[in-house]
């Protein structure tokens, strides 16, 4: 699944992806533009919750990567077919 495809399948996914990528880039002008796009499209409360989600998943990766935790068995089982279809395991 491409980023574009994923974004298209979720309401206002394009502006949310724009915000995520702008925040990750750290470029102030891009963040400012993306911020206004989300606020104008989804509203201020949605913008704050979108920012909070970005913060959460920017933080939790430090735990996963730093401690070296494995995927849970039930998640591995649930995603087995999908991982095979996309050949994700070849990246191990």
């Amino acid at each position: 699944m491409t980023t574009t495809g994923a974004a298209d399948s979720v309401p206002h996914g394009d502006v949310l992806i724009f915000l995520v990528e702008a925040v990750h880039s750290g470029e102030d002008s891009a963040i400012a533009t993306a911020r206004m796009a989300v606020r104008d499209t989804l509203g201020d409360a949605a913008f704050v919750d979108a920012c909070a989600t970005i913060a959460s998943f920017s933080a939790v990766v430090k735990i996963a990567d730093g401690a070296g935790i494995p995927l849970e068995d039930y998640k591995e089982e649930a995603t087995r077919d999908m991982r095979a279809e996309f050949a994700i395991n070849q990246f191990q």
């Binding site: 994923a6 949310l16 409360a45 909070a52 989600t53 959460s56 933080a59 730093g66």
Partner: protein
């Protein structure tokens, strides 16, 4: 409650606003292995890591393990601690078990896990402010007291690269990190220092969702939908090279 961002008012859930303040207080308070002043020194070093020349060279290299040198730091912390902080901040996705194990004995795994906790907490707080358009907060004043340096007796190295505390091994003397937020592997990652699990996930469940809310697709708990939350989560994780 409302927050002010560059002269404009934005609504923030009271529960999120509360946990942000709690998280800052916990950042400055004595941990289990580091004093409040040391935890703030770790946080300050974490904020500097992005400008480190060595880290930038390593980030650009095919493998970070082929580039030697000294980190740009203030010498407030031992070299091994600076190395741990900078790697966690700038290139966590390429951390290996061998690298984690190489930190010992200069940096015990208990102290390393608390560093992960401090950095995760700081990352959540700073990234939220950055996304909202707020200036990064000045670090607070440290709370003076000594860490209790209590390692859970039941912790074992059988799940991750660091020892973890399984739910069935939590002792009566340990803070129990699991009843409130769950016991998935991501919770267990910090469980060698149980208080760090509590510190981080008390904030994280307000940034993201509580464990029981994640798969409750009958209800929306935020001003954005489950699908929108997971789209943001997936793209953020991909950009950060997180495949957990």
């Amino acid at each position: 409650m409302d927050i002010n961002v560059a002269g404009e008012t934005l609504p923030m859930r009271d529960s999120l606003a509360r946990e942000i303040e709690v998280a800052w207080q916990r950042m400055a308070a004595p941990g289990t292995w580091w004093t409040g002043a040391e935890r703030l020194a770790i946080a300050a070093e974490a904020r500097r890591a992005g400008d480190c020349t060595l880290c930038q060279s390593r980030k650009a290299a095919l493998s970070p393990y082929t580039v030697d040198g000294d980190h740009d730091s203030t010498d407030d912390l031992p070299d091994v601690v600076v190395e741990a902080i900078h790697r966690l901040v700038t290139d966590a996705g390429r951390i290996t078990e061998k690298w984690v194990l190489s930190l010992a004995p200069a940096l015990d795994e208990t102290a390393y896990v608390e560093i992960i906790g401090v950095i995760a907490l700081l990352t959540g707080l700073d990234k939220l402010d950055q996304a909202l358009g707020l200036a990064l907060r000045a670090l607070p004043e440290a709370t003076a007291s000594e860490p209790n340096r209590q390692r859970p007796k039941g912790a074992k190295r059988n799940l991750a690269w660091v020892s973890t505390l399984a739910p069935e091994d939590v002792g009566p003397e340990d803070p129990n990190p699991y009843p409130l937020h769950g016991d998935k592997n991501i919770h267990r990652g910090l469980s060698l220092v149980p208080q760090e699990v509590i510190n981080f996930f008390d904030l994280d469940v307000e940034l993201y969702l509580k464990d029981h809310e994640i798969r409750d697709f009958e209800h929306d708990f935020r001003a954005i939908s489950h699908a929108q939350i997971e789209l943001i989560a997936g793209r953020t994780s991909a950009l950060n090279g997180c495949y957990y």
